[in-house]
């Protein structure tokens, strides 16, 4: 336990250092990259003096060193400042986007795992068969399609031609007039296509990795021994093959969840969903420095946290990891 808590503390400490370095790097990159946050105030219709007044408000009239000191002070107090675009605290702008992103990302994540495992359960007995080879090829082809193509094909087929699902938005316009059951159905029907769009690549990746690992594990001697001992195939798969195959994929899962929480720009844009992806990219394009910092740090925190959780889980379940780390 003592060994485990030492490793955990070490990991938390290094994660915090990584996060700080990330914040500093983004601060520097934003300040040295071309582009101007007050560009939208430079217009023939506006008085040029307005730009100077606004620069003072945003502290952009200060030197980079002074801005950096203010930034350091704020970051240690958890204050990311006010978004230039939204004129609201960055934390509340991000919190608004997270109301959608967290449930959406979690749903996609769970579906990826269920779909990958579901496909695997149906295929493992027929590995090496024609069906297995066809599925491998089809998944490779689907994986090569960019998300935007997948989204447009789904919209064309299911929204325009068959008119089964809505083509965009989170909910219907008359959502507030629906009863609770109808609201749930409305929300779910709006999210079917975006969830498929976002989950498909991840599902294919998990399935491919697991499928490949299963082949490797099946070649291990202990599996041959179990088969020779007359253990049921189903039991071998569930109790031995799957746990040993899935362990290497857990790190991938952690990373994937962290990335999903950072937002999915293409899916959110095409389906008009109010998530972190659109928020972040829009902040970057308009040079909304405080909001870019907030989004980047949040994204970093999510990825680091997800990886930390995965590493903790692996450490807890595999004793070899502790002795290696020590």
């Amino acid at each position: 336990m003592h060994k485990f808590s030492t490793i955990l503390l070490k990991r938390i400490f290094t994660s915090l250092i990584t996060l700080f370095l990330l914040a500093v790097l983004i601060f520097i990159l934003l300040r040295i990259s071309p582009g101007d946050p007050v560009q939208k105030f430079i217009s023939p219709k506006l008085n040029p003096q307005l730009v100077e007044e606004i620069k003072k408000t945003f502290l952009l009239d200060k030197s980079i060193e002074e801005q950096f000191l203010v930034f350091l002070k704020n970051i240690f107090t958890g204050d990311f400042g006010i978004s230039y675009n939204y004129r609201l605290p960055v934390t509340s702008v991000i919190a608004d986007a997270l109301k959608f992103t967290i449930p959406f990302a979690s749903t996609c994540f769970i579906i990826q795992i269920i779909a990958a495992l579901g496909l695997l359960f149906n295929i493992y007995k027929k590995r090496g068969s024609l069906l297995d080879r066809v599925i491998n090829k089809v998944t490779l082809i689907l994986y090569s399609f960019p998300s935007i193509i997948i989204a447009l094909v789904l919209i064309l087929l299911f929204a325009l031609v068959l008119n089964i699902f809505p083509s965009a938005d989170l909910v219907s316009i008359n959502y507030s007039n629906l009863n609770p059951i109808e609201k749930i159905i409305d929300l779910i029907s709006h999210l079917v296509l975006p969830v498929i769009t976002l989950s498909l690549p991840g599902t294919i990746v998990f399935y491919s990795y697991l499928r490949h690992n299963i082949d490797i594990v099946y070649q291990q001697n202990f599996i041959l021994f179990l088969q020779a001992s007359g253990v049921e195939e189903k039991t071998i798969f569930k109790n031995h093959v799957l746990p040993n195959s899935i362990r290497p994929v857990i790190s991938l899962l952690g990373n994937e969840f962290g990335v999903l929480l950072g937002g999915a720009l293409i899916t959110e844009t095409i389906f008009s969903l109010p998530g972190m992806g659109r928020l972040t990219v829009n902040a970057i394009l308009t040079r909304d420095y405080p909001l870019v910092m907030g989004c980047a740090i949040f994204s970093g925190v999510m990825i680091l946290l997800a990886n930390l959780v995965v590493d903790v889980y692996k450490t807890k379940t595999d004793g070899r990891i502790i002795s290696v780390n020590l």
Binding site: S43, L50, D169, S189
Partner: protein
């Protein structure tokens, strides 16, 4: 377990399909859905920068006057809106305004104090409103804020007078700003107005009020029953739906989920017309594209206060040759599908009283262009297809902002056209923020950009030679005659003299060709046929929504 999982999956899918079909039937008898490409940032009229924001905000907050477009003359006419009566004095140095019996949506009466307070806020440097520094016809203090004592005389709760400076040229545009409630705004520190809740929870006196604002999704306005503007027959609510992807907007129009959308691409017009449920209306004469030519050398001039003429574009004849060498008609026909017209000068044909009809579009004539270049000493001595002079190749970069299909297409056509007469160009696509930063800093050689034409016509920012005043004269064009005309336009002159001056302006600009004027672009608007009384004109597409009604 496998079969249970499969059955469950099948059941879920079938339920979703059946229930989705049910929830898609929405009662659209009393509302209109307008598509927008991006969310707005604020509803506070002090800080509105985009047209989409003012479209919505001006349904909530009213100005003293509204404006109409007179198509026969191409002029703007004004009418009382929040004001009931407007009386100018004999020499137009003051106007007495009587307010309508209006109430804010919280029941408080709209008064003269609200008006004075609003103008105080608009001109206060601490507030940093979009109207800061533009009150040139008012008495102002050194910090450009309005001197309220001199500029306003409150006669009664609903009557007041605005006093303008004797040498000014006031018009209805000097006081058409939306009025805000003093009793709400006065409670907020002026430095904090930009970040306060009032930006998202407006209290107005207009015909509509905000019901909900779901960020990045939609904004719903409902009829304000307390408004003095009677709207018994009109629509009950307007929903502004935020759909960033253009194709999604078109899909939703086709599915009937949207009733109204602007900036329809020409190639989608026929598809929408085939549905027979939309009118496609062209809003003309407000937007144009041009090939910018830096009249000064950006590298040399940037380092000193002197302005060195550009080795290519500092020469009037070269600029004329470029105008002749570009086949603008082909771009208009092939890309815009004739939804626009060739541009002659920065005065659009819609301004009938000012447009000089004697000037004709410069036609595509590459051979004449080449002759001009030869006369200027450019020739292809080494036979590589590129003109040279004094060992300099005629080669420059055309910068284009990313994400604009029309400008990308134009850039390619222009590149090919110029190549055919021996001019080499490199195309450089820049991210918009970087593009505009460089453009305003005059760091580009040549570029493709556009302007939205203000109403009333304001030429000074774009063509006056002093960069402190002509902050949009990014091509560094300089002509003292133009400067004189622009200064005269700001003095008290009669209508005919103004028209003569603007026509003279056009003649000089036409002769000088400071940039290559490409085309006026129509803003194509799709409007559902079920909406009646929609007015789409150069003033706007979304206006006077309180008169919109839905047909049976």
């Amino acid at each position: 377990m496998k079969s249970t999982f499969k059955s469950l999956l099948l059941f879920t899918l079938i339920s979703l399909v059946l229930l989705s079909c049910k929830t898609s039937n929405e009662n659209k008898n009393n509302f209109v859905v307008i598509g927008m490409n991006a969310d707005i940032e604020t509803l506070n009229p002090l800080f509105i920068m985009q047209e989409s924001e003012s479209n919505i905000s001006e349904l909530i907050y009213l100005g003293l006057v509204g404006h109409d477009w007179d198509n026969s003359t191409g002029n703007v006419t004004s009418y009382p809106l929040l004001a009931k009566e407007l009386n100018w004095n004999n020499d137009s140095t003051s106007i007495t305004i009587t307010l309508n019996d209006a109430k804010w949506s919280d029941g408080t009466v709209v008064s003269s104090d609200d008006v004075v307070f609003s103008f105080d806020l608009y001109s206060d440097p601490k507030v940093q409103s979009r109207f800061f520094g533009i009150f040139k016809n008012y008495y102002t203090k050194p910090d450009l804020s309005i001197d309220l004592q001199k500029s306003f005389t409150v006669i009664s709760q609903n009557q007041f007078k605005i006093n303008f400076i004797p040498q000014g040229t006031p018009s209805y545009f000097d006081f058409d700003m939306p009025i805000v409630p003093k009793h709400i705004f006065t409670k907020i520190k002026r430095e904090e107005l930009a970040t306060s809740d009032i930006n998202f929870k407006p209290v107005g006196c207009g015909p509509f009020m905000l019901e909900t604002w779901n960020k990045s999704q939609n904004i719903k306005l409902i009829k304000n029953k307390k408004s003095f503007i009677k709207t018994d027959e009109s629509i009950h609510s307007i929903i502004f739906k935020i759909i960033p992807d253009y194709n999604s907007r078109i899909n939703q129009l086709k599915k009937g989920e949207l009733d109204f959308a602007q900036n329809i691409r020409p190639e989608d017009v026929s598809g929408l017309k085939e549905l027979n449920s939309f009118n496609i209306v062209a809003r003309k004469g407000r937007i144009y594209d041009y090939l910018g030519l830096n009249n000064i050398d950006p590298l040399k001039s940037g380092k000193t206060s002197n302005q060195y003429p550009n080795k290519y574009f500092g020469n009037l004849n070269i600029r004329k040759a470029l105008a002749l060498a570009i086949n603008r008609q082909s771009i208009l026909k092939e890309f815009l599908l004739n939804n626009g017209e060739l541009m002659i000068t920065p005065i659009a044909p819609i301004f009938k009283s000012y447009f000089d009809e004697t000037l004709l579009p410069i036609n595509y004539n590459p051979s004449e262009a080449k002759n001009i270049l030869i006369k200027e000493g450019w020739s292809d001595k080494n036979g590589d297809g590129i003109l040279e002079k004094d060992k300099n190749k005629f080669s420059f970069t055309i910068s284009v902002p990313a994400g604009n299909p029309l400008r990308n297409y134009s850039a390619t056509i222009i590149q090919n056209n110029l190549k055919s007469i021996g001019i080499e160009t490199k195309l450089e696509v820049l991210e918009p923020n970087i593009f505009f930063q460089k453009m305003f800093k005059k760091q580009l050689d040549a570029w493709i950009a556009g302007w939205g034409v203000p109403i009333p016509i304001d030429l000074k920012p774009y063509w006056y030679s002093d960069p402190q005043i002509g902050n949009a004269n990014v091509y560094s064009y300089k002509n003292p005659s133009i400067d004189n005309i622009l200064l005269k336009l700001e003095t008290k002159i009669h209508g005919n003299e103004k028209s003569s001056l603007i026509k003279e302006f056009q003649k000089i600009i036409y002769n000088d060709q400071p940039v290559v004027f490409l085309y006026w672009i129509d803003d194509l608007v799709a409007v559902s046929k079920r909406i009646e009384n929609v007015q789409i004109n150069p003033l706007g597409a979304i206006q006077k929504c309180w008169s919109w009604e839905l047909s049976e």
